[in-house]
Amino acid sequence: MIFLEIVLRVALVVVAFLVLPLVVGQAEHKVMAHMQGRLGPMYAGGYHGWAQLVADGVKFVQKEDITPGAADRTVFRLAPIVSLFPYLVVLLAVPIGPDLVAQPLDIGLFFVLAVLGVGVLAVLMSAWASANKYSLLGGLRGAAQLLGYELPLVLAAASIAMAAGTLSLPGIVEAWRPWWLLWQAPAAIVFFVAGVAEIRRPPFDMPIADSELVFGYLTEYTGLRFAFFLLAEYVGIVVIAALTTVLFLGGWHGPLPDQLGWLWTLIKVFALSFVIIWLRVTFPRLREDQLQRLCWLVLVPVALAQLVLTAAVKLAI
């Protein structure tokens, strides 16, 4: 019985892991198109191109499997999986509704942040194994960016954990109160911006920089491996939106939380995904020095200040 339950929970998470990024990806096509005054995909599937990503998936699957001659084969082949797997593991710990979580963990937040750090390894693996100087440049930029932005991410998460008094994600959502929106607002913004930088989305896509570095650490990837990297990008959007929702926006809180909690979570996740897409369309890419400056001179001090504020208010209450 228990085994069956475990399999069911993991299966549901895998379904969410595969479906939500496709929805976000299709939304990105259409939202980005309309924000740029055009229409986006209209043909695939007949009705406003809803099957565009399915068609893309089929296209990637039927492509030739190429590994560059000078590349380190094992590492090259493992990199997409290393990029994708941490997000699946993170989704296991995220609560959707009251008592609706695949695996409630007492150190949930710590676990999630630790696993997210594995993404850096995937970037370095793909960059180094590609045997291509543009990939390597992209990868090194990526490593600097990801390592740098881990710090504000962790500090902002520490602030909310301190406010809730627990590291368990369901526990944090349960302890959340609406006035925390104001109290933790700086941490929310820092976490969100650092999260967007962690998933290497524009305006933080220096490692990819497709007009400067060909495609950065993804240059040599094609076919199904490239599709996995793309899936990882969209899963990353879902994961960061889900984490920001669960930590700072109160997750399943809303009218009728017992019946509709999962709906509020999903609505908040999609709203944040929309904001991430909106940021991509609006802002030009940050240069490396601007990026590092933003991280170390703006986000880290704000996160530290928020920690002080949180501690002060916690002691006062």
Partner: protein
């Protein structure tokens, strides 16, 4: 930073950018999906050139004036016997009139220069070929395009009256009458 040296509030530009993209998203896009919807071409659009063979007197002005030399013309002279005339008249008969659209640059000089209105613009543009040799349209094909030549657009109401209109008006008014050139009404000066 604004031009007068004042510092804007930090983040103001970022928020304005976000507002612009959001506004564009809510407005209906003007994209017309071409193969399903025909494009709205403006009047006098230049697509392909049509030949009205009966007007052509083979004066060769178009072939000479074409900057790309893309018009190829062949002709021969024929005698036409006119009853009651001293000798037979000669007329040019057009044998070959080809326009090479792989060279044509759509400047319209041939159409402007033709004194007999034998060449016309039409707005047809869907004549792409897989073989570049098929872009040489011969006399018959050019004659076929005449079906697609639109009627000339109406004159601009606020524009200068055409030569024919002003001459007719002058003649109808009789000698010494007040014409446009002779009245004191202030009018925008035409380009001399």
């Amino acid at each position: 930073m604004t031009d007068d040296g004042e510092r804007a509030t930090p983040g103001k530009g970022l928020v304005q950018g976000l507002a612009v993209t959001l506004k564009t998203m809510t407005q209906r896009s003007t994209t017309r999906q071409y193969p399903d919807v025909e494009p709205d071409l403006p009047p006098r659009s230049r697509g392909v050139i049509a030949l009205l063979e009966e007007n052509c007197t083979v004066c060769m002005l178009c072939a000479r004036e074409c900057p790309d030399w893309c018009i190829y013309i062949d002709s021969h002279k024929e005698e036409v016997v006119v009853p009651g005339a001293a000798r037979a008249r000669q007329r040019n008969v057009l044998d070959k009139f080809d326009i090479d659209f792989s060279l044509c640059m759509y400047c319209g000089i041939c159409i402007e220069v033709c004194p007999f209105d034998a060449l016309h613009w039409t707005p047809e543009f869907e004549y792409a070929e897989t073989d570049v040799l098929n872009l040489l349209h011969d006399k018959d094909r050019l004659g076929d395009w005449m079906r697609t030549v639109p009627a000339p657009p109406a004159h601009d109401v606020l524009g200068e009256p055409s030569k024919e209109e002003s001459t007719a008006a002058r003649k109808a008014a009789g000698p010494g009458a007040a014409t446009q050139a002779r009245t004191n009404v202030r009018r925008p000066e035409p380009e001399k």
